[in-house]
């Protein structure tokens, strides 16, 4: 399965991000580059204005002593000024290092130190406080000598000399620019495509985070592939709401915007994303499955609360969509006139208004990636006419390994390899990748880089996968997580967990079974969905722990587990890993307690250690187990939750292979 690239790197004057900015200011200076909602009104900056903003800030940084090769930490939500700061650093030959804004101080400390950060830009007081807290404990590699803040509220009485307001730096920059008029353009000229454009820290399901270095060349070559693939242009709109520290945002928002001139839209606040989505109506949308799931859950809750006419209408036309919508989207032939008419009526009465409310009216393509997506979820969006597709990739490869082509979409694969990407399956099933979008290496970690990229230039993804008959890649699980049951059959925990998580009532699940005779699982209920379900039935509860321990809720989850078992029983490879016993955890798994990564992936080993007593109880066949757990609250305090957890047996099924 090899494909080679025919895509050359774009013309010379577009070889780095700063040069793209110059180009955009020149050829589309009057077009909108970025918007932000402020005091309830969308404010727009054109490319010419963005250029001025970036230039002023870059010169300001230079005046403070920012030099080529230095790093700039960027901490906060998706704000125009933070994007400009990244561009400004790049203009000076520096490297932006975006951080997860919700990370606690201790996690940030490691990254700041590792990246040797001297300059940081922070969104607001909350982040500034965190930085000052960190500064006291920082080892020597990072000095954090300048902190620029975007939103100055609450900082009036801060007297630390390291702290600067954003506008102040721009003022300083304008003055510097007048005194050294050639400086800025000279710096942009000096920058080369081989230099590092950004360092993105991987969340790390195991061990400490590693800084992934990407060059301008790799990023822009990948962007070119993406833009050609979906034919994006300056007319497009993207809502940027995903963390800056995540490659997805850097690539889909920042890089695509500079490359094509499309307009970025920053939400008013993280809580208003849904409203902003509706107001902007983006044409390109990306989100992890979790977000699509949240949207669907919200819709379902609202529908259940609607009047019976609306409810009837919704369910009737959703059934039509399920029957016809997918085939229409896949451009299949032979759909009857009656079906087409009823679908058109549905579009008028249900799908259209629904897409409008969700902000999906103008979406050309929507992507999901990072995790497997549930069949019901995936089909729901596609059946109402949203071109939702899956993709596969990781930070180290600039995402973009495989993407589904419009009209050639399958639920359980991630599509074919992209142009310029070579994918190989190793003997042990691991997916290997070689492409122009590959990272330069891990920052200051030659050892780890050598481990990840072999002598032939193939990157080892750590995922186990296979190609199906049509050349689509199918990802099974993390290679190191795939284990064997005691009888030697394959055990792929994530596969089972995903099946569980496809039920709206289950938010998170952890399956155990490697080296054991039977498979068991922990379950986290979805507070919104189960809460609403309970309310409807008049079940009262005081909080998560209480709700999770209710008999009725156990029955509900029990049903889900048995459905998964029935499903697993049809798969020859996996019918042995049916879930024999399960329990509902007394607390939600949380990144603050290190149980999930910041991108909300389960940290399997950590959980197995932390809840060892529960696992033992599951395998000893107990009916309940007492547990007390330390938790970290959002304000940083520690507390304890305790509960007597019930353990349930679930019915398993004998292998019943479906007739093909």
């Amino acid at each position: 399965m090899l494909e080679t690239s025919s895509q050359a790197i774009p013309t010379i004057d577009a070889s780095t991000f700063p040069r793209l900015l110059l180009r955009n200011a020149r050829i589309r200076g009057d077009l909108p580059a970025i918007r932000e909602k402020d005091l309830g009104i969308w404010q727009t900056w054109t490319w010419a204005q963005v250029y001025d903003e970036v230039r002023a800030f870059a010169c300001g940084l230079a005046a403070l002593g920012f030099k080529r090769g230095m790093t700039l930490a960027v901490i906060g939500d998706n704000r125009p000024r933070l994007y400009w700061a990244m561009a400004a650093a790049q203009c000076l030959g520096g490297i932006p290092v975006p951080l997860y804004q919700d990370a606690p101080a201790a996690d940030m400390c490691y990254v700041l130190d590792d990246a040797e950060v001297d300059f940081a830009i922070a969104e607001d007081q909350e982040q500034v406080d965190k930085l000052f807290e960190i500064k006291q404990t920082l080892p020597l590699a990072s000095h954090l000598s300048h902190i620029v803040v975007d939103y100055e509220r609450g900082l009036r009485h801060y007297t630390q000399s390291e702290l600067h307001g954003y506008a102040k730096i721009q003022e300083l920059g304008c003055q510097f620019d007048r005194e050294h008029p050639d400086f800025f353009l000279h710096e942009v000229e000096t920058g080369s495509a081989q230099e590092t454009a950004v360092i993105l820290y991987t969340s790390g399901t195991t061990g400490k985070p590693k800084g992934v270095c990407h060059s301008h060349q790799a990023m822009l070559a990948t962007t070119n592939t993406l833009v050609t693939f979906d034919q994006l242009n300056q007319q497009d709109n993207i809502l940027c709401y995903l963390p800056l520290a995540w490659i997805g945002d850097f690539l889909y928002s920042y890089a695509q915007s500079l490359y094509t001139g499309l307009c970025l839209n920053c939400p008013e606040s993280p809580q208003t994303v849904m409203t902003d989505l509706r107001e902007i109506g983006p044409s390109y949308y990306f989100g992890p499955p979790r977000i699509y799931e949240n949207i669907l859950t919200q819709v379902m809750i609202r529908i259940e609360d609607a009047s019976w006419i609306k409810r009837k209408m919704f369910h009737h036309f959703m059934a039509v969509a399920k029957r016809v919508g997918l085939r229409i989207l896949n451009r299949e032939q032979g759909i009857g006139i009656a079906d087409r008419l009823s679908y058109a009526l549905g579009e008028l009465l249900v799908y259209g208004p629904l897409k409008n409310v969700l902000g999906f009216s103008r979406v050309k393509v929507a992507y999901t990636g990072g995790e497997a997506i549930g069949p019901d979820l995936f089909d729901f969006y596609r059946s109402i006419g949203i071109n939702l597709k899956q993709l596969y990739g990781m930070t180290e490869t600039c995402v973009t390994i495989c993407m589904q082509t419009s009209g050639d979409v399958k639920l359980d694969t991630v599509g074919k390899p992209m142009a310029g990407v070579e994918v190989k399956i190793a003997a042990d099933g691991e997916v290997l990748v070689r492409s122009q979008g590959l990272m330069q290496g891990y920052f200051k970690r030659e050892d780890a880089t050598a481990e990840a990229i072999d002598a032939d230039g193939y990157f080892h993804t750590g995922d186990a996968g296979l190609f199906d008959r049509d050349g689509h890649l199918k990802i099974i699980d993390r290679a190191k997580d795939v284990g064997k049951m005691a009888d030697g059959t394959m055990f792929a925990p994530k596969y089972i967990e995903n099946k569980l998580k496809f039920f709206p009532f289950i938010k998170e699940a952890v399956a155990f079974g490697d080296g054991r005779k039977e498979c068991t699982a922990f379950v986290n209920i979805d507070m919104d969905a189960v809460g609403n379900w309970a309310e409807r039935r008049g079940i009262s509860y005081s909080g998560y722990t209480d709700l999770a321990s209710q008999q009725a809720v156990y029955d509900l989850i029990h049903d889900c587990v048995e459905k998964v078992n029935a499903d697993l029983a049809q798969d020859a490879l996996l019918s042995n890993s049916q879930i024999c016993r399960f329990l509902i955890l007394h607390k939600e798994l949380d990144p603050d307690d290190d149980e999930l990564t910041r991108t909300r992936k389960v940290r399997r080993r950590f959980i197995a250690d932390k809840y060892a007593v529960l696992i033992d109880a599951l395998y000893m066949g107990k009916t309940s187990q007492y547990i007390e757990t330390q938790v970290k609250f959002e304000d940083g305090r520690q507390g304890k939750v305790s509960a007597d957890l019930k353990i349930r047996d679930a019915k398993t099924f004998i292998e019943t292979r479906k007739a093909a």
């Binding site: 402020d38 005091l39 309830g40 009104i41 509220r153 801060y158 008013e268 606040s269 304000d635």
Partner: protein
């Protein structure tokens, strides 16, 4: 914070206030003052007369005895509207919002005392009325931004959880750009996180706008943390007055709270 807010001169002076309803003496000979830019708390057990005190400042109740001097001017009989015009805004112990109206509209009502155009010109939406509404809307949006409630701008108040309703009420009071803000148990019925948020907002209001704040509160922890000075009432009498530290060590106050024999 490294620098303390600057506390100014006395802005409100209450002397010998007595208030009774028929035979019930709600307040007996109470005197205290409030300085500009300070956070002044009134505490006391249930039925101590705290809310009555606030209603006296607010012009809802008229004390039978005593004098009230606001900004150097002795107050005659007053109604709440006039007090509001003078720059005193308040929130209520049991939320008093318009449940069916959106958050935005509720906060907009806080601008009521500042609106200049008459019913007629507003009704036919004349140029002047439009300009004025835009001006008011801008101010309201600033308050929304300040209290971080952008996400519920268009939500009917009745659908919001209690903690957010309290915040909307504070927003409405702030929209009036008051010089003095009276808060009647702003944290009652809140969970810890909501309380912390509310504390931060109160401190921020005080700090950013220099608003003088008079606050009634049950949660002693909160009061001691954020107040500059505290008045303690019990059975309508003042039993303590001073900094949080002084009040905490005052034997009368300890008695009133721990309930030794009266």
């Amino acid at each position: 914070m490294t620098e303390k807010r600057k506390i100014g001169d006395v802005i409100l002076d209450l002397q010998g206030i007595s208030l009774s309803f028929g035979g019930v003496r709600a307040l007996t000979d109470i005197s205290f003052d409030v300085r500009q830019h300070e956070i002044r708390s009134i505490i006391g057990p249930n039925g101590a007369g705290k809310s009555s005190m606030l209603n006296v400042i607010n012009g809802v109740y008229h004390p039978q005895q005593g004098s009230i001097v606001f900004r150097g001017e002795k107050r005659k009989a007053m109604n709440p509207t006039r007090v509001a015009r003078q720059g005193i805004a308040r929130t209520f112990q049991n939320i008093a919002l318009f449940k069916g109206m959106s958050v935005l509209d509720n906060i907009m009502t806080g601008r009521n005392t500042k609106m200049r155009n008459g019913l007629f010109s507003n009704a036919i939406w004349l140029g002047k009325a439009r300009d004025e509404e835009m001006k008011h809307r801008r101010k309201v949006e600033e308050v929304i931004d300040f209290l971080e409630i952008q996400h519920i701008r268009k939500t009917p108040v009745g659908r919001l959880p209690y903690g957010l309703q309290k915040r909307v009420e504070l927003a409405r009071a702030l929209a009036a750009e008051p010089e003095m803000l009276l808060l009647d148990e702003p944290m009652a019925g809140m969970n810890l996180e909501e309380k912390q948020d509310m504390c931060r907002f109160i401190l921020d209001v005080n700090d950013e706008f220099g608003t003088t704040i008079v606050l009634i509160e049950h949660d002693m922890g909160v009061v001691m943390d954020i107040s500059d000075r505290v008045v303690v009432l019990d059975y309508g009498k003042k039993i303590g007055d001073g900094t949080p530290d002084e009040v905490m060590h005052n034997p009368d106050v300890i008695n009133a709270y721990l309930g030794t024999s009266h």
